[in-house]
């Protein structure tokens, strides 16, 4: 089933690529990839130098460390070398080995291991939340557009407006109060059985509301176009117009939201994992900040930022490929 869907998607993309690919598009894609690479490099550089500008080394907070021990520790982690040497080593390790070095506070573990551990849960939550947001968002958006200015549309718009205006930690806390404390049907702790349901719902509400509004407005625009009128005039039924003619085109703006949605889910998970005590990458990020585990902070920031930049890139390129009408700058 999944394989079939994937094949279909790949088929459509390659067909579209074949149709719209020309030198201009290619140049645009190359430019975007270059920008993405520069951005990731800026992230690495900024993160590195910002973290090294913090007054007091990472070991100053440790109690009863003699100077010789501190020097030995710094030598072990390469902190005694000049800054630019450290920077070049760090950059080289990331580019060639994707290695972020050892964690300072969790002895014996590397940053890579900690990130990989956290990613397991976080990716699961994030991907499911994104799918829920996408499916329900599109369905609700289509319904709202069809029933424009009717009761259902009003209700959907009011609810989505409320969801868009609520910070994720507040949404999470409300869900926690309602479902875990009062109704007692779902656990409040992410480690418990079914514990990931509430975090997933919390994380999906904002993007879902956003996609609903996006789909609604783009669907309304598409429904006003000539080819829809032609289809109506030919006597095509309402359902068939929506799903056969209008939906495909009105989904194009939704593609641009891929990148921002991922960015939201990544930052949202930082908060949501805190609220529901889920041991994911977001929680380890916050802990690494409060615990001053610099390599972990740097590693997590760089990995998450790279993820976001790549998703933005993919979203942008897909957008240009899917809709040949879009003019390139």
């Amino acid at each position: 089933m999944n394989g079939y869907i994937l094949m279909t998607i790949i088929y459509f993309i390659t067909r579209q690529v074949g149709e719209t690919m020309n030198t201009k598009t290619l140049m645009y894609i190359l430019k975007r990839i270059l920008l993405a690479i520069v951005t990731i490099w800026v992230v690495i550089t900024v993160t590195f130098f910002v973290m090294h500008a913090v007054p007091g080394g990472p070991f100053t907070s440790e109690k009863a460390v003699t100077e010789s021990v501190e020097a030995a520790m710094e030598a072990k982690y390469g902190l005694d070398k000049p800054l630019h040497v450290q920077y070049l080593t760090y950059l080289k390790d990331i580019v060639t080995k994707f290695d972020f070095g050892p964690s300072l506070k969790q002895r014996g573990r590397t940053v890579n291991q900690i990130i990989a551990d956290g990613m397991k849960t976080s990716v699961k939550i994030g991907v499911i939340a994104a799918f829920i947001a996408l499916i329900f968002g599109v369905v609700f958006g289509a319904i709202a557009a069809l029933r424009r200015n009717k009761f259902v549309d009003r209700i959907i718009m009011i609810i989505t407006t409320a969801f868009v205006s609520m910070p994720s930690f507040i949404m999470g806390s409300f869900l926690l109060i309602i479902f875990a404390n009062h109704l007692k049907i779902l656990p409040a702790n992410g480690a418990a059985k079914n514990g990931l349901i509430l975090p997933i719902i919390t994380l999906s509400l904002y993007p879902m509301a956003y996609i609903t509004r996006l789909t609604r407005s783009s669907m309304l625009e598409v429904l006003g176009q000539d080819y829809i009128r032609t289809a109506k005039a030919k006597g095509v039924s309402g359902m068939k117009i929506i799903f056969g003619h209008a939906l495909k085109n009105s989904l194009i703006p939704v593609i641009t939201y891929f990148g921002p949605m991922l960015a939201y889910i990544v930052t949202g998970s930082i908060v949501v994992e805190q609220v529901f005590a889920v041991s994911g990458i977001g929680r380890s990020f916050v802990n690494s900040i409060t615990g001053r585990d610099y390599p972990l902070v740097m590693g997590t920031t760089i990995v998450l930022a790279t993820l976001i930049v790549i998703m933005n890139l993919v979203g942008d390129i897909l957008y240009k490929i899917v809709d040949p009408r879009i003019t390139l700058e």
Partner: protein, 359 residues
């Protein structure tokens, strides 16, 4: 020209034109032509359109009410946000002040009431340290609103200056600025915000003492710096786009022909015409700044304790959410109300000030 008065003698032409049409208008007729209503400016028109939008007007009054309450209530309220009510100099700590539910009183207050004295009720109860929760929420609102407002102003000033320069100068300056904007724009903002404020918090600690900023706290200053560094880009892009299209207008050419210099043209011609775009995006910037502040406060990177902000109140409430859910609900409701009203008001502003935009 047909019908010119010099052609009066020409019989053929005068037959073609009804000369009565060219009689000067009488005073009465002139009166009739005078516009009855005073000419309306763009600004007045927009305000009128805005007032017609009931949702936006209601939201404006909600914001106004919340702002006024946040400014004036702390002045008259008998409790202060940092005062633990149970702690009095020279007396043992009175624990009955701690963790009061809404409208409950401590023992000593009960005595006072029994003695016929009036005691201002703890509308939202008190927190675990015996501080009046209502005034903390009000004060938190004040902080959140102020942060949102000033952050937007910072973004506005920086974005406006750089955007205007890029748009007007064009060429290499524009190219360089826009590449920088592109890169900052594609940085994942929230991650950078967390990173920068966590570092600035440490870096600024202690350095601010005995300066004007010490009262504001290192965290809020670092928040402002982060906003100044990261969030100006979308404003700059917007302004640049506007300026680029505006500077091709004829009146700019006319001004240049009359010898106007760049600064004059930017300040007198281009910026006033960007006015509506500026207003709209600043209005929409405030809720996003409040959002960011609450997010950072929630992670413990927001305002310095004991100063409350809505985000830090909600964050503190998370620990006792089983016993005191209302401590979460009050700040959460206020924050949602503020952000919602500001968003709807901003949308209303956009509709009113940008009539060309038909959405």
């Amino acid at each position: 020209m047909i019908g010119e008065f010099s052609d009066m003698d020409n019989k053929i032409l005068s037959a073609q034109v009804n000369m009565d049409d060219f009689i000067p208008a009488t005073a009465e007729e002139k009166e009739y032509m005078v516009q009855m209503r005073p000419s309306s400016t763009f600004f007045k028109d927009s305000i009128k359109r805005l007032l017609k939008n009931k949702v936006a007007t209601a939201c404006f009054f909600i914001i106004l009410l919340i702002t006024l309450a946040a400014i004036f209530i702390p002045m008259v309220w008998p409790y202060s946000y940092e005062q633990a009510l149970g702690v009095r100099p020279g007396k043992p700590v009175d624990n009955t002040y701690n963790d009061l539910a809404p409208f409950e009183y401590s023992k000593s207050e009960m005595k006072k009431i029994d003695a016929g004295e009036k005691v201002v009720p703890h509308i939202f109860g008190t927190d675990s340290q015996g501080r009046d929760y209502f005034i903390r929420v009000v004060y938190g609102t004040r902080i959140s609103l102020a942060v949102g407002f000033f952050a937007s102003i910072i973004v506005l000033v920086i974005g406006l200056t750089i955007g205007a320069i890029a748009g007007y100068a064009g060429g290499k300056v524009d190219l360089i600025i826009m590449r920088i904007v592109d890169i900052i724009y594609s940085l994942p903002d929230m991650l950078m915000v967390i990173l920068l404020s966590s570092v600035l918090k440490v870096a600024l600690e202690g350095k601010l003492e005995e300066t004007v900023f010490s009262k504001i706290g290192s965290n809020i200053i670092s928040l402002f710096i982060v906003f100044g560094v990261l969030y100006w880009v979308s404003m700059a892009r917007l302004i640049r786009g506007q300026i680029l299209s505006l500077r091709e207008q004829e009146y700019v050419l006319a001004s240049q022909a009359a010898g106007a210099k760049g600064k004059w043209i930017i300040l007198k011609h281009l910026l006033p015409n960007c006015f509506s775009v500026i207003i709209i995006s600043t209005a929409l910037q405030i809720p996003s700044a409040i959002f960011t502040e609450s997010f950072l406060s929630f992670l413990g990177l927001g305002v310095n304790a004991p100063m409350p902000s809505l985000g830090s109140l909600a964050s503190d409430a998370l620990n006792g959410i089983n016993s005191f859910p209302y401590r979460m609900i009050f700040p959460a409701l206020v924050i949602s109300l503020i952000v919602l009203s500001l968003n709807l008001f901003g949308d209303g502003l956009r509709d009113a000030f940008d009539p060309k935009l038909d959405t």
